[in-house]
Each structure stands twice: as C-alpha cells, then as structure tokens.
Amino acid sequence: MGFALELEKSGVPTIPVSTHVFARLAWATARAAGMPTLRSVFVPQPVVGRTAFELRAYIEGTDPVLKQPFMKGVLDGLTQPLTDEDLKGATFERSTPRLLEPDTEDNLRQLFIDNGWTDYLPIVLPTEERVEQMLKGTSLLGDKVVGRMRPTAFREYWEFDIEKVAVNAVMAGARPEYLPVVLALSASGVTARSSSTTSFAAISIVNGPIRNEIGMNTGIGAMGPYNLANATIGRAYALTCQNVQGGSVPGDTYMGTLGNNWAYTACFAEAEEKSPWAPLHVDNGFKPTDSTVSVFFGGWYTQSGFGPRETWKETFIRCLTASDHYSPPLIVMDPLVARAFADLGFTKPSLIGWCAENAKLPARNYWDNQWVMTLIRPHAIAGVEPYASRLKAAPDELINIFTPNDIKIVVLGGETQGGFKMIGGRSSGRGPGTDNKDTPTGLIDIWR
C-alpha cells in the first residue's frame, strides 16, 4: 500500500492488490494518506498456500469486494480518466480534544467502550484530578513529547506526550510511582498493539532498583495476576499504545487472526538477586544501578518445561526447534533452573550459545514458514548472512535457526518448581516490530 501511494504521488498510475479481508484497512490507509480514491482491487483470502492454478482463477474471477471481474477493476483503475474527486485528494485536520464533554460516569464509561478506548476490562476514568495526581510521578512537564507510534509500518504515525501516557496509566489503575516505567515503555518505539496478522504482543522486562522501589513481584506468580505494579504497568503500556497510535480496531487497525492474551498485560521484573548470572540490562550494556525496561515484540508462541533434568538437552532442542524461527525465544526461567544450569557449568552466554548451536532443522522445514519466506528470504537472496547460507543449504541439510544474539534469558519466579518458558519475542535486529533497533533496552531513570 505504501508503495502504491508513493508511486501515485510520483505520477505512476498504480493498483494495489489486497486480499478481501484487508479491504477496510486498505481504504483507511488510503484515506489517511490523503488519497481516498486510490483504486484498489481485491482477491479472495488466502493467497498463501494457493497453487498457481488457483491464483490464476482469482485473476480470471470476480473481485469479492468490488463485485466485478478482477481484471476489469485492474484495467479500469489504470486507464479510466480521473474524476474531480481523484484530482483534489482529501485534505483534512483531525483533532483530539484534551478534555471530553462533561457527562455522567456511566455515560463516559460507555463512551470509552463504544469508541474502542479500552481493553473491555473496567477502567478508572481519567478525571483531571486523577491525571494531575498521576503526573506527580515524574518531574517532567505533561506536554513533553514522548514519541510517535503506529500500528504497523505502512500506517501513519500519531504523536503523544507525557500527559497522554498519564491518562492511559490512570485508566489502567496504575499508581503515580509507576509512571516512569510506563513512559519508558511507551518511548520504546515498539507498539504493544501491532496490527500484524500474527497477533503479536509486547512483553517487557523491568530491571534495576525501581523493581523494588515500586514493589514489583519477582517471586511466586511473577508472571501472573498477583501484583498491582506488574499488572497495571503492562496494561497501562498496552492501553497507551492502543490509544495514542490511533486505535486497535479489528478489521481496521488490528488484523491479528487469533488475538493474544499477552496483549492485556505482560510486564515482568527480573529476580536479579536470585539469579546466578548478570541481569538482562547489564547484558545490554547498562549498569546494575540503572533502572531499565526491555521490550520484546512477540508472544506468538509460549512453551513451558522443567529442568534441567537428565534429558534437558532433548527437551530444550524440542522447544527451540518448535519455536517459530522469525520470532526467536525469550527464555524465562525460575532461579532454581538458572542455578542448576550454573551448577552444570553454564554461564548465561554459554547456555545461549549452546541453544543457538543445537537448534537445528532441515532447511526444507526452516523455509516452509510464511514469515520466514516473507521476512527473511529477501535478505537471504540479497546475500545477508546467516540467511544466505541457510538458503543455499540442501533441503535435508541441518541448519542453525538462531544466532546467539537472537536468544535472551531472564530469571524470575518463586522457586516453588524448576520451571521455564520459551516465549516468542524479538528484541533487536531485523524483524517485525523492532525497526532494526540495536538494543531493546531503554532507561527508566530519564523519565523520573
């Protein structure tokens, strides 16, 4: 869609082809780009997995949205003269007021639901007094711009300031002392409300002294609903993303086919004091005394297991190779597991290295994946390593599916069991949602 809009602006008549489920999204994108009459055409969903014969039938068949022969839409779109509407485009201002019209609590709660401003769980209404109180959680002014956000790469950016984050933090039930963490997450540039069809969420890890200052839970139930800070910080970040980027509406600004329960709230704190290894933020170049957030774009899959028992290697290899390869694993392990690995002689880098070295698949399995084909294959064709070597491999040749830099380890949990999870979560480098960032970690202290 972005290419089509740019080419039209450059004087080249262009027809974007989308599958029919993306029709609303296509029109909304064109409208927001000032080109509401962009001549789009549609084929049935899906294209993935269809044979050449079946795709030819799409081309020779009926456009399921425009209800006319597909090729008529293409040829008319490229050759029919422009109308007055085509020539003028559409210029318009959209504004979002700072305050809404006064109303009763019940009516305002319904308004927030009707407008898609909530996650459908109860919210705290962001009154002026509550937002003012929330803003006491930072020394910075409310009108300081935090950043820009959008649901996916081809959509428009919306801008937001500290007050908007505070408003959403109030809605989530957060306390003022949590605000710097929510601000750091919101400034990460990673949306927790991606519109990706793969239903990505954002999973974040808090490190440093602020974990204890605001009472985050790193022990029993650290990833569950057992702590106000954990629960509301993740929710505040998610609601902020949803609202400051211009929405997360199914069929329009959200296309995740299954949805994702990590999207409600997914902010966790590392049990640094119980880990035998350096914490995540120190791995990423920060001081132990720094307070940071690290954001992982993923949550598409979650696997769990125990260990390390006698057959831990087989267990880990099964989990690693079952992971979707475009979304490498964030490995979360209980301190019991981490210390047991340390007792086996592993440092964190050596365990990550072992995982990368032993996670292998036949090349045919690796490449038989929609997103590997879409996101990684172009780099392989362009000669970018290690993808190029993977593409050159014979179909039955075992290839490494991750590099050490792909895999991260975080230690948390209550030591009631030696459990671990592998959660899909890309934090840096090439891939969806990361904007090729060098580091996934941002400083909280600058938002205090």
Partner: protein, 96 residues
C-alpha cells in the same frame, strides 16, 4: 451539571492529512510498460507470475516487468525510482 464529570481524551495527536491527487491515467496500456511489483509476501511471486502470463496471453501489446523491493515492509527508493523512470503503470501485491 450535577453528577457530571470531566475526563481526558486518551488518544494521541493525529497528523494533518494533506490531499494528494492520483496520477494521470493513460487512455490505453498498449505499448506501455507495466511494472508488476511482487511485494514479497509469501506466494505473491506466484500471483504476479500468473498476472504476467495473463497479460502475455490477453494483452501481449503491454510490456510487463516483474520487480521486487529489497525486503518486505520496508520502502525501497531505488526500486520506486526505477518504476517512476521507465514505467507507465504498476500493479503491486499481494498484501499490504
């Protein structure tokens, strides 16, 4: 009014939308260069090849050229410049 409260709007600040006109259309594609842009989504290459074959069979006077951006989801100014430089029209797909 009694019982009424004032609350903040939680939304961010949208950019101003500036209208842009569509490109002028040729009367016909005969003898024109039509770029078929494979946007790199899985199987889009197969679709574009079928589209190329359709033009070859039904409108052979149209010159079709298949091109691809260097990666998915990312702008490719060089590819766009090539299409603008010697293309008369383009079809891009399949996906967003």
């Amino acid at each position: 009014m009694a019982g009424q409260i004032v609350v903040h709007d939680p939304r961010g600040y949208p950019p101003k939308v500036v209208g842009k006109r569509l490109a002028n259309r040729p009367e016909s594609l005969d003898g024109k260069v039509l770029y078929l842009i494979d946007c790199l989504f899985d199987n889009a290459d197969v679709f574009m090849e079928q589209l190329r074959l359709w033009f070859a069979e039904h409108m052979p006077q149209v010159v079709t050229r298949v091109v691809r951006p260097r990666e998915s989801w990312v702008d490719d100014p060089e590819m766009r410049a090539k299409v603008v430089a010697d293309g008369n029209a383009a079809i891009i797909g399949v996906g967003l």
